[in-house]
């Protein structure tokens, strides 16, 4: 069996699904953040698969941009999570409910 475009797309879709499921069910802010990174990497895989099978470089370049954006997002995100931890000594996102009336 040759591995074709569809296999890569399905793998990416599954990874994306695992990521979004993780965002919904996990309660630790860091783990939720890791799941978001997983989603971004699934997107990268999609880009690269399409790019490879179309025989052009655009998707490869885009993947680098996405990685750069993900790195910046990690910097900002971890700072925000750290700040939340400082104010309430917990990383559980369900306990972040001050504003729920």
């Amino acid at each position: 069996m040759t591995i074709g475009l569809t296999h890569y797309l399905v793998l990416a879709a599954v990874l994306f699904g695992i990521g979004s499921l993780g965002v919904m069910v996990r309660r630790n802010a860091i783990v939720v953040f890791m799941c978001i990174e997983l989603m971004l990497n699934a997107v990268n895989l999609t880009f690269i698969a399409f790019s490879r099978f179309r025989g052009e470089m655009n998707g490869h370049v885009i993947a680098f941009f996405v990685m750069a954006v993900a790195a910046a997002e990690a910097a900002v995100g971890l700072a925000i999570i750290l700040n939340l931890f400082r104010t309430r000594k917990s990383l559980n996102v369900d306990e972040a409910n001050l504003m729920r009336h």
Binding site: F33, V43, F50, N58, A79, N83
Partner: protein, 515 residues
Amino acid sequence: MEITFQASDLWGILPVLILMVFASVAALMEVFAKPDTSRSFIAGFSVVGCLLALATSYWQWKGIDGAFQVPLFGKMLVMDAFSTFFNMIFIIGAMLASLLGARYLREHNADFGEYYALVLFSAAGMGLMVQSRDLIVLFINLEIMSMAIYVLSGFVRKNRRGAEAALKYFLMGSVASAVLLYGVALLYGGTGSTDLVAMREAFNADKALGDSIIVKLGMVFLVGGMAFKVALAPFHLWTPDVYDGAPSPVTAFMAAGVKAAGFAVLIRLFTVTFGYDALEFGAEGKGWVGLFYALAVATMFAGNLAAIPQVNVKRMLAYSSVAHAGYLVVGIIVGAFGDLSNQETAGTVIGGNGAVLYYLLTYAFSTFLVLGAISLFGKDGEEFVHLSDFAGMGFKRPFVGLALTLGLLSLAGIPPMGGFFAKFYLFREAMSLQKPELMWLTLIAIVNSMIALYYYLRVIVFLYMKEPTREVPVFESKGAVAVLCIALAAVLVLGLFPDTYVEMARRSLESLALR
């Protein structure tokens, strides 16, 4: 793909470049400033930067040929009247947010110069986002805008509500970005390009393309991601918490800027790429319009019904901003049915998208008027935004009370405020196409505006007809007074002499309608 880069391309993004330079210098000024001194001078510096950027933007607006797009940086960006129009909104928003911030931050013990740097960076991101012609450039600029806003919403670090707001906005926003990016990836796979015009050509060349599951999924994900940014139901659940927890000047900037940027991108996307002919996909010929009907109706009701029981005025405003996003979607639907090219362009006929542009302009000033007034209520990291905190304030602080009242009336759409004409044009354009489904939609929108009257007027009742129950700290601020004066003047001018600005909106759209 060959990317050519000319020095002249830099002129096309000059306002954004000015914002970025001023933002970087503002961040450096904070580093070299003496500790424990007021950072108001950075606010002044940031306002100077905004004025300079506004002047260049206006100069571009005057110089640009109405129906012309200037491609920049190998067709990655464009400059046209449309992007310049929105650039001016963002720059004014950044200026008002800087003016509001100076005193607010000192009162809340968070007087750091990064605030101004982040506001300017975010405005620069919005500007480039609207100028993007390539979906990847669009995504990167969306992130530049969003990341600055994530940090800004938690800017008062000691405030636990702010920290929570930042976390929620960050997590939800990142998920939305990932979903949007997945949409871009699928569309890239389907059409072979991320360039908006090339995608359009691919759709035109192969009508069956619209039926492919990859393209359909890609569009749904793309719209879902954008719907999050502009807070459409059912992607609006973050809005109340974030608008409530974020500092009021940031909330105003978010409501005015991010919303305008999101809708600008939606308009460009659906005019340039998925518009009119390309819209009628495959056998059903429905395309994405049906999806937007559902979004519009759900958003209007979700916003308005949830706003009614709110006793926290900022939460109420958050839900009302959701409702306003619903009205704006009606405008986008109308814009999809008929653009300027197949309508009379004489007079004040501006099409659905033109009405959206005018609406966003008035909405930006109205929110700054309301939230600018509200930002004065509070001290030491705590904002006093309960309904009862406003009791009697109309007499105690007449100017603040008046500004708040007129801002709320404008949001409610009562003449002679700008908000009235915004709604008037929107509904008139929707009715003018004489399609039964649009009539229904307009009727729902009108019913919703009436529901909205209740919760807007209730604040005014508290302002003038109730006795105060507790001592509420309200600080004095020259910056805020300046903001209120500017916003008040703008809202009144937009309400009394709308023609100039309607013409501006029409001209912006003309640059878009051609391709």
